[in-house]
Symmetry: C2
């Protein structure tokens, strides 16, 4: 896929800010705020990890009303496994932010990312809250501040925007996100914030978010780990004044299509910036009997350390791909399988083709690698995006806290 | 655990040989043979990968009779995903070996390990078969030849022997094995050959092998991948003349204990020689409600790239361990969990202790790392052995075929 540069993710009726409050080293942004001008319908998807940050618990609870105005996010500290102080900090921070914005506390969501097990210096956040609110604005640079403030080992900030017309109204969806290790389906160490001016109730918004995430954020993997803090939150503030988007309508399908498009762009940006990544890899399994079968096989290939190191080394060891297909725990007929890498047929009906290793090496030298596995057993497909496994992944993760 | 050096794995009534037949580069051993003097009862456990080597199919079929005399093994080529030639080669090789040994062809098992998708130069094996049979012997150096001939990226050969007395008879179990990447439960790229002089029928032998493997070979992981070729085979030739070992007897329990001991030693040797390994890591989960729960959690920690890179870097980022516990997909109560690393308490009842990072770094500098996770939810336990994830793992696997 071709990736666009970061688009200005501003959306009518939303403001943003970002600054450094001292959690990370001096002068590095680590605190972000997104605010809707009016109460917005809201939905979220959270980590499947059974150890969760108090921030996740807080936001899950706050989302039950289906309404919210603000999201406060810090990086540099996950506020996780820190004892009862964790939840007390969530309470104190959201209370302070709500006061500064003059909104109810239960309309403030919270998210954190960074090191686990170290008490959050919440006093720094509380002290910075007035200035953070003061910095709120609608310009591209306000959103860049916010996108930068949620970064951890990310090398670049990640934002995007899509726009379409629905019954004469301009619907805009914007989003910012961060990676970049511990990325895996069902919310890796990934924070994603989407916001739109569409009119849509919170239940429909939740269904749309799940549909979009299952073709994007839930289909990326860097290292197979899901963190304790991950979330994707979407706010819809209704400023577009469109007729309410209802499930099972063409308006819903248009909205999901746009939400999926921006989600996929943002998810791809996370993979492209995966820790130590030198390759952008799409593993597509088609001809599946079910989506689950296709997903299990795509995921097995995308998470195989042996496949990922071979891609890094541009080593034409395609047998590892077939091996990972067989390892997925999903039934299939090995004698029907075709495997292609950047359009080079490696395996035809379960047997090797006579493709020269030289030609394969040349194909592997490209930055974008597309592995296609056709099971010839049905019509379902799944795609999982990943990167290679390099020396730098080891380096970054061997020295994370020290 | 303390690991013994390789013991001479010779067992009465068995012969071995190993030589280089030219599959690997010149002068490197790549062909091994193990032969019992008399027909032996036999059992095997094979890879769970759905793509399997024709050698696996051949040996599974041959084991159905419950009897066998010989195992021929080549390294350097997996004889996998090579089309119909793969099974023809198995037939031709076992036929030739049977002829040279003057035994029925269906008493010859076969195993291969190495690169996938490259046709096996079976003519080299067939040409070398007479010399291989001629070299068969009972000395320590014959067994060393065999143990070396099955190596791939292994740095050292791996062999062991245990002995115990049963009703006045000396029961001996010997074994050789190889790793060293693609190691994961349910038969990674692992070949293991065990042989004993015990009298035991093939059904009982199979049950004993499964019990032993579930505490050893099926509890090690290097990189989470199971290969297409893995197998553990055990032969019992009855030369000890003991009363037949029957299920659910004290004699059976003694046999399983010894078989588990040698299997665990050999499995540990594989992990110690894991590709790029600098640490020997035991992840123990205790206080589990079920063995399955304990296993899922131990395996999640042992396969986490984030935990493994932190161990390599001696980075006191213990939050990653707790995160991997939560990631296992098994239910547990996070508020009851204790986590220890080499006896240092990191987490007590789900909360961090005030252990200094300095003290933790010191503990992590040891070569042997014992991570204990107590769920305080029952009495079941599981242990998974693994190694760290280092630069050298990436290097070895990025350049495997080239």
């Amino acid at each position: 896929m071709k990736l666009s540069k970061n688009r200005n993710p501003a959306v009518p009726g939303f403001k943003a800010a970002g600054l450094g409050c001292g959690i990370k080293s001096k002068n590095t942004k680590d605190l972000a705020l997104i605010v809707s001008d009016v109460p917005a319908t809201a939905a979220g998807i959270f980590t499947t990890n059974r150890v969760v940050s108090p921030g996740v618990t807080w936001s899950r609870r706050a989302l039950k009303s289906g309404n919210c105005r603000a999201i406060v996010v810090n990086s540099g500290n996950a506020n996780t496994v820190v004892g009862p102080k964790g939840m007390k900090d969530c309470d104190a921070i959201t209370k302070k932010v709500a006061e500064e914005l003059s909104i109810p506390q239960n309309q403030v969501l919270i998210a954190s990312t960074g090191v686990i097990g170290v008490p959050l210096p919440s006093h720094k956040i509380i002290k910075a809250a007035p200035q953070l609110v003061k910095k709120l604005g609608r310009t591209s640079s306000n959103w860049t501040d916010a996108a930068e403030a949620i970064m951890t080992t990310d090398l670049v900030s990640k934002s995007d925007r899509v726009q379409y017309t629905f019954l004469g109204k301009s619907i805009v969806i914007g989003g910012i996100t961060k990676g970049s290790g511990m990325i895996h389906p069902n919310m890796a160490t990934m924070l994603g914030f989407l916001y739109t001016n569409a009119v849509i109730d919170s239940k429909t918004l939740k269904i749309a978010l799940i549909e979009a995430a299952d073709r994007s954020f839930n289909r990326i993997t860097v290292d197979g780990d899901s963190s304790t803090n991950d979330c994707i939150i979407v706010l819809a503030n209704g400023e577009a004044k469109n007729p309410t988007i209802k499930p099972n309508t063409s308006g819903y399908r248009k909205f999901v299509k746009a939400l999926t498009a921006i989600s996929k762009n943002l998810a791809s940006k996370i993979v492209l910036d995966g820790e130590g990544a030198t390759k952008f890899v799409t593993v597509r399994v088609q001809g599946g009997r079910t989506r689950k079968q296709a997903y299990l096989i795509a995921n097995s290939v995308a998470t195989s350390s042996l496949v990922k190191t071979a891609l890094f080394g541009e080593d034409p060891n395609w047998g590892r791909i077939f091996c990972a297909v067989g390892n997925a725990g999903a039934p299939f007929d090995p004698d029907k399988v075709d495997i292609l890498l950047n359009k080079n047929l490696l395996v035809k009906k379960g047997n090797p083709t006579n493709l020269s290793p030289k030609k394969l090496v040349k194909a592997m030298q490209q930055h974008e690698i597309n592995i296609t596995i056709d099971l010839h057993g049905g019509k379902e497909w799944e795609e999982v995006l990943t990167c290679d496994l390099s020396y730098d992944y080891v380096k970054i993760n061997a020295e994370y806290t020290t």
